[in-house]
């Protein structure tokens, strides 16, 4: 009912969709970007895109999944536009961020751990581990091979576990 009204351009229906999916959309963009302002901009962009393209939504997939994919694509487009996330090999990508030694006190939860990954690695972890994207899909989205996506993911997970271990040992010492 809401979707049908939204497809006719009803603003009240769009608002209802925002109330239902706005938060999830924001969480996804925040995880993808690691920046609150960028996440807001992407939610803005994703909703405008959804409002323009909802007419073409035919219900083949649940609306939530359809919109989540649209949001992820908006996030990936943003990543592509970022200079620091330009195409680099897995090695170089992690070397660039290794220099910055994070404060273990700041590594309190999964999201703060994610923030210490290079942007593209963070996106691959979020999309693969949390959103269920396959390596084949990620390879297509980033214009790379599947082995590239697998390699980035493996390194990213290794980095995350190392950071979590550092944080855990620090807190034990502090105790």
């Amino acid at each position: 009912m809401t979707l049908a009204r939204a497809q006719r351009g009803d603003m009240a229906a769009f608002e209802e969709i925002y109330r239902r999916y706005g938060r999830a959309c924001f969480q996804l963009t925040l995880r993808l970007t690691g920046q609150r302002q960028a996440a807001e901009d992407l939610v803005h962009e994703a909703f405008l895109k959804m409002m323009d393209t909802i007419v073409s939504y035919r219900g083949e997939a649940p609306f939530g999944a359809w919109f989540k994919r649209l949001t992820a694509n908006v996030g990936i487009d943003w990543l592509r536009r970022q200079r620091h996330a330009a195409d680099t090999g897995a090695e170089a990508m992690f070397e660039q961020t290794a220099a910055a030694d994070p404060d273990p006190a700041g590594l309190v939860d999964a999201d703060s751990l994610l923030a210490h990954l290079p942007p593209r690695a963070r996106a691959i972890v979020v999309l693969h581990e949390l959103e269920g994207y396959t390596h084949a899909e990620l390879a297509a989205l980033f214009g790379q091979s599947e082995s590239y996506s697998k390699s980035i993911l493996a390194r990213a997970l290794k980095r995350l576990h190392a950071l979590a271990a550092t944080a855990a040992s620090t807190s034990r010492v502090a105790l």
């Binding site: 603003m11 405008l48 999964a110 751990l113």
Partner: protein, 155 residues
């Protein structure tokens, strides 16, 4: 990599829940709605402008077509029929008549009767014109049949 390191969900589950409020700001929806309305108005204006352009183009085309039609000389079917008849007369009379030619000749005779009757009742040119056009077409067909017959007889 050990097995426990292979999954981000497992790692996240062992850590405390995120402290940060992952909630979009309250004014985000009003901003989105405002941008959407603005874009919709812009699109409407563009469509109106484009529609106006298309209307102007169609009007210009219609005007040109009408002017051209008025300017184009009408075909003088009577003169054309008379010219074809002269050509037909100049051709040798075939030994045996073709069935198609017979059909055309019979319709021509009927049409001549109609033409005569139209002139007798003082018909206007717009009523006479279609009759002369039909006569011209029949003569054209007859001429083609005769030409074919001449060619066949030479072979």
């Amino acid at each position: 990599m050990s097995e426990h390191e292979s999954n981000f969900r497992d790692l996240a589950a062992r850590l405390p829940a995120s402290m940060a409020a992952h909630v979009p700001p309250a004014d985000l929806w009003p901003r989105i709605a405002a941008t959407h309305s603005q874009r919709r108005q812009q699109r409407r204006r563009r469509r109106l402008a484009a529609g106006g352009g298309v209307f102007a183009l169609i009007a210009a085309l219609a005007f040109t077509t009408i002017s051209w039609r008025h300017a184009a000389p009408a075909i003088d079917w009577q003169a054309r029929a008379q010219a074809l008849e002269l050509q037909l007369d100049a051709m040798p009379t075939p030994a045996a008549s073709d069935p198609l030619a017979q059909l055309a000749e019979s319709e021509l005779a009927h049409l001549d009767g109609n033409l005569q009757a139209a002139y007798d009742r003082g018909a206007a040119p717009r009523d006479l014109d279609p009759l002369w056009q039909r006569r011209s077409e029949l003569l054209d067909a007859l001429l083609s049949v005769r030409r074919q017959q001449v060619l066949s007889s030479r072979i």
